[in-house]
């Protein structure tokens, strides 16, 4: 939580439409380096769409994304992954046919570059590279306490662990910004506590900037340094958890107001 005030990512006046449906309307906010930034809002508020814009899966019709102090040109998702943005998914998107360690190793994909020739021989540079990245993956697996399932195919794991493997895979990318799309959806209290602990640990130990979407307000208020509230694709409020909690527009959106 150091250097709270250097902006690592900024979205400016994002407009995203799907045909006639307006998903995001003129939303701007920024993310400081090393903070935990929460994006909240009722269902259909455009939270996931916002993450999709940030990691390049959607291309907004208008608006700019600034990353590391530069305006980002229109890029494909795999190029954006290279710039250091990792994410997890609302519906788990693990590689079901692979084991936990293989899934985590996929996160290192971009850092590996030995060519086909060495890969075929699996000798010399290729195996050195493999070992070096395996070491880092084992550190992350250790960190997230999933050692015991290292060689289990992820398809057969319980939900909570799958979420954790997905976090491990994203962490293996050594991201500058980690986008978490509902990391605690569908978990029981205990699993939520674990996950919260891991998110704080990641933030503090690796210094990773985190942007997360979450519906559990207690969790959001505890974890987040600052909160963005979206509703119907519009920015409703932006500030510290305390500020947002006392914002009348937010209370109206969540509790409803008589019309």
């Amino acid at each position: 939580m150091s250097e709270k005030n250097s902006v690592i990512m900024e979205v400016k006046n994002i407009n995203l439409r799907f045909g006639g449906v307006i998903a995001i309307q003129d939303v701007s906010f920024n993310i400081f380096e090393g903070e935990i930034r929460a994006i909240i809002g009722p269902n259909g508020a455009g939270k996931s769409s916002m993450l999709n814009v940030i990691n390049g899966f959607y291309h907004p019709q208008e608006g700019e994304v600034w990353f590391n102090g530069e305006k980002r040109p229109s890029m494909e998702p795999y190029q954006i992954a290279k710039t250091g943005i990792a994410r997890t998914f609302q519906n788990i998107a693990l590689f079901k046919g692979m084991t936990t360690i293989e899934n985590v190793m996929t996160g290192r994909q971009l850092k590996m570059n030995k060519n086909f020739f060495w890969q075929m021989l699996r000798y010399g540079p290729a195996i050195d590279e493999e070992v070096q990245h395996r070491r880092r993956c084992e550190e992350i697996i250790d960190f997230l306490e999933i050692n015991h399932i290292r060689k289990t195919p992820v398809g057969s794991l319980p939900y909570g662990l799958q979420k954790r493997v997905e976090l491990a895979r994203a962490l293996a990318m050594d991201p500058k910004i980690l986008l978490l799309d509902e990391p605690m959806a569908g978990m029981n209290v205990e699993e939520k506590q674990d996950m919260s602990r891991f998110i704080i640990d990641v933030n503090e130990e690796f210094g990773t900037t985190i942007a997360l979407i979450e519906h559990d307000m207690a969790v959001v208020m505890d974890l987040a340094d600052r909160v963005v509230v979206l509703d119907y694709g519009k920015l409703l409020a932006d500030g510290t958890p305390a500020e947002v909690q006392s914002n009348q527009a937010v209370i109206d959106a969540y509790l409803g107001v008589p019309h």
């Binding site: 795999y78 998107a93 994909q109 086909f116 290729a126």
Partner: protein, 362 residues
Amino acid sequence: MFYRETGQFKSKYKEELAAFPLAEDKVGIIILLVIAYVFIPIFGIPGLPFEFTMGAIMIPVFIFTITTLGLNILLGFAGQISLGTGAFMGVGAYSCYKIMTIFPDLNIIICVILSGLVTAVVGMIFGLPSLKIKGFYLIVATLAAQFFLEWAFIRVAWLYNYNDSGGIEGTNKEMFGLIVSGPQSDALTRYFIVLTLLVLLTWLASNVIRGRIGRSWMMIRDMDIAAELIGVRPLTAKLSAFAFSSFYIGISGALMVFFWLGAAEVESFDVSHSFTYLFMVIIGGLGSITGSYMGAALVWVIPVLIKEIGKTVFGFDAFIMENFSIIFLGVAIVVILIVEPHGLARLWQITKQKLRLWPFPY
């Protein structure tokens, strides 16, 4: 009891990343290699005539294992389906024939490998639709490749040097003073060449699959959107899978004509063969190298054995046995897929898993 990792400690990642981390596996593979390189060449398969063993069982099984490996890379590891396997084998065979005509003095092994490279390029071109379409639609696109290539093998007379038969035929080729290919070559020589190529290609495939590139294929197979967000470029991953897979299929096609059949026409590469190779992959097990071996062996050997037994033991007409073997194979496929939809490789996996705990149930 005999097969378990308990007590086999690894202190380096490199040891764990080895091809066969378990001592039992190492011993097993050495035994298999000794059988293939020493036992079978000397004794053949007990109870079967030697020429028959080589010409009708071992050599074709090895060649089709290379095909199955290739198709399995595409289908089982990269998740891209193809029904053009037969035609791609044809590309390998015809291009090997052309290379041999253009450079008559070139070593035949080099010709075979070059024809694999030609097939890789052709496979990549016909793999381009996979960038936009998936599943059933991709099947149709690769089927188009099958029909187009078959057409080319008939209509483009340049491919078979304008000869009257319309087929391609191997001539005697020497290597180190031995005739290795063509009508006068010895079955045993061809056996060793095909076996060595198979071992080499298996080793290369298992290396690629366990490394960065293999993982990128499996990522595309399992969840293409997540793969892209992690940084896999679909274009590179898919086309490299098509190329690598076609390389294997092309080599197997060239081997089939010049190390087994001796001559071939377009019928050897038609769509029904494509289906046979697909059977081999599915019965063996998608995404498994061991499965490729088992699938190719089962689908090829069962009909051959049935035909042979029916002919020699019961004295049935060859034509009846031909039909009977097709029926039997069909039933076998259905039964295996009901018992274990993931193929023989999974059965083998389960056996190994059981052996770890044997004699205890859990």
